[in-house]
């Protein structure tokens, strides 16, 4: 998927318009457009945030994302500082964007 194809699926803020159209290729294209490389550690977060959405129908804010990571991968990865290091911007927003989920509510 090239950048133009990926961007045609997004809203003005870069979030996916139709949640069913998400694919790993889309996530890779979005990250590439940001000049951001998705490592195995990033994919763990993206998978976790997608599972969170499946379960609760919400894009998580920082605290529940940290908790979900902690439950799945243990306390070392269930820390906000770990997520902040992985993602340059706000981890819940950036991960939700790559994961094809709505922008988290209550973003202040």
């Amino acid at each position: 998927m090239n950048k133009e194809q990926a961007f045609s699926l997004l809203d003005e803020e870069g979030y996916l318009l139709d949640l069913t159209l998400w694919s790993k290729e889309l996530a890779l294209a979005l990250a590439a457009a940001d000049q951001f490389e998705l490592s195995e550690n990033h994919w763990e977060v993206i998978d976790t945030i997608r599972e969170f959405y499946q379960e609760y129908q919400l894009s998580p804010a920082m605290r529940p994302l940290v908790k979900a990571m902690s439950i799945k991968y243990g306390p070392d990865k269930g820390r906000s500082i770990y997520l902040m290091k992985l993602f340059s911007q706000s981890p819940p927003k950036q991960a939700a964007r790559y994961a094809g989920l709505p922008k988290p509510l209550n973003c202040l």
């Binding site: 609760y56 129908q57 529940p64």
Partner: protein, 134 residues
């Protein structure tokens, strides 16, 4: 009536954490108040405010399991309510008399609630600094 004392300093010490009680009184699909109360809970959690929820009167019906809101083309609020625990909000109360009226037991509820008798409700409410009852 006493007049208010304007010379009294603000009662709130800077780092004192207020605990908040959110009362949910409406049944599912009634209006937006249940969803909007839930959103207050999430916002307070982001500010580390301790939040508890009291599902009063028809509010207990919001917790009934096996709801299929998709039949009404509505988003399922019960999934959202189950997310409260992920925001470290785990203090939920229902009133025994409400549960009895609707033949609900703990097993029928999506959250693990403390069931209290109606005559204990006032004492519970007194323990909170702020109550929001939409």
């Amino acid at each position: 009536m006493q007049s208010s004392s304007l010379t009294e300093p603000s009662l709130l010490a800077t780092n004192m954490k207020k605990n908040i009680l959110l009362i949910v009184r409406n049944p599912p699909f009634a209006n937006s108040s249940n969803a909007e109360t839930l959103d207050i809970a999430f916002a307070c959690a982001a500010f580390d405010l301790p939040v508890s929820l009291l599902f009063l009167n028809d509010g207990i019906l919001q917790l009934a399991n096996n709801q299929q809101s998709n039949l009404l083309e509505k988003k399922d609020l019960t999934n959202n309510f189950r997310a409260l625990a992920m925001y470290d909000i785990e203090d939920y109360f229902v009133i025994a008399e409400d549960a009895q009226r609707y033949q609900l037991t703990q097993n029928d509820l999506i959250l693990n609630c403390k069931i209290i008798n109606k005559d204990k409700m006032a004492a519970l409410i007194r323990t909170f600094d702020t109550v929001i009852n939409l």
